[in-house]
């Protein structure tokens, strides 16, 4: 559950919510329709988005085995799903509690970082084309957080928003 709302239940018997807390709740509830829409987009387009990433990776790493690239793609798929859930809940702590430790270890164990560093760049470039800017700005900080945690120093500034075009055409 979203942390701000979760903490509300702890204080019910002591007081009404102060204006600042109520404002946070209002902000979260107001943002929820956009979060749900962005989540739906990711859910429905996951395969298309990652297929595009896969195709680019195969071109970039012709000498890498298919197993290596597939492993990085599975990690990316998990990162995208975990980020989507964290976005829906507006809870970045979800990523550290559930995922980033494990992902960092897995990347080290299987030595996938070389592909992963490039992969995240491709993923964000495709996402920025596949969803409206307001939705991309919801998911992007979460992917950056994962990338910063498991691949320190590899985050570059978000790709510029391209000229508007139909989503279907972009992916």
């Amino acid at each position: 559950m979203q942390p701000t709302i979760e903490h509300i239940f702890d204080e019910v018997e002591h007081r009404y919510l102060p204006p600042e807390s109520l404002k946070q709740v209002h902000h979260y509830v107001k943002s929820l329709p956009e979060r749900i829409t962005a989540y739906r987009t990711l859910r429905e387009r996951e395969t298309l988005i990652l297929q595009k990433v896969a195709d680019q990776l195969e071109k970039t790493f012709p000498n890498k085995s298919q197993d290596d690239i597939e492993r990085s793609l599975r990690y990316a798929m998990l990162a995208l799903r975990q980020s989507a859930m964290a976005m829906l809940m507006d809870d970045i702590t979800h990523l550290d509690e559930q995922f980033t430790d494990w992902l960092g270890e897995s990347m080290t164990i299987h030595n996938t970082q070389e592909v992963d560093r490039i992969l995240y760049g491709y993923l964000k470039k495709i996402l920025v084309q596949a969803m409206p800017a307001k939705h991309f700005t919801l998911i992007s900080p979460l992917l950056d957080h994962i990338q910063n945690t498991v691949l320190p120093g590899s985050v570059v500034s978000a790709p510029a928003q391209p000229a508007p075009q139909p989503v279907a055409a972009a992916i």
Partner: protein, 204 residues
């Protein structure tokens, strides 16, 4: 071309099975604590473990270590069975088909999610026939009520000995060589065939 749809099995992409928020589930109203498959879990309060140590010490004295070690052997056997079932089911492959690194990672996350501390494995003595397991912040080491000049993680030693016996299909013994209760930075356990330990390999 890598078909993305083929990378998932019925839309399932295996990740960290033992992620705490997902793995541990409880219903306070029903008094139930379960894992993500619905298998029942049992929470051991530190008071219980301290009481167990103290009670055994009073009842059987010096033999309490041996009793705890044997309890650990029994516990470890069942722990392995559950671990094997859960992991095989989740990753859809048998433990024998799993890569060693993935197996160890799952065991480490299982250990910490159960609240037993942090576990690492050192395989550098493999040629000599030994595996060294190290645990930090052990739940078992910090509950010994009486000062002792010997390692006290008999239960943990039994669990580890039994777990790796089941895994290897050989009867292995486990000896603890350092203990947090004695001021060491970690608990070290050496696991191998009993015959290789010589005369110093007592219980735990």
């Amino acid at each position: 071309m890598i078909p993305i749809a083929d990378l998932t099995r019925k839309n399932h992409v295996p990740g960290n099975y033992y992620a705490p928020r997902t793995y541990l589930r409880g219903e306070l109203e029903m008094g139930l604590l379960e894992n993500r498959r619905g298998d029942r879990l049992l929470a051991l309060p530190s008071t219980f473990l301290e009481g167990l140590y103290a009670g055994l010490d009073r009842e059987v004295g010096q033999a309490s270590g041996l009793v705890l070690f044997n309890c650990g052997l029994w516990w470890g056997k069942h722990f392995f069975k559950r671990f094997q079932d859960e992991i095989s089911d989740y990753y859809q492959m048998s433990l024998t088909d799993m890569k060693m690194a993935d197996f160890l990672q799952a065991l480490q996350h299982c250990w910490s999610t159960y609240g037993w501390g942090k576990l690492t494995l050192d395989q550098s003595y493999q040629e000599q026939g030994f595996l060294v397991v190290t645990t930090y912040n052990s739940f078992f080491a910090n509950r010994e009520p009486q000062a002792s000049n010997l390692p006290v993680c008999f239960l943990e030693a039994g669990v580890l000995g039994s777990f790796f016996s089941e895994l290897s299909g050989q009867e292995l013994h486990c000896v603890q060589t350092s203990c947090e209760s004695l001021g060491a930075d970690c608990n070290r356990f050496v696991i191998g065939l009993r015959s290789r330990f010589g005369s110093g390999g007592g219980a735990g």
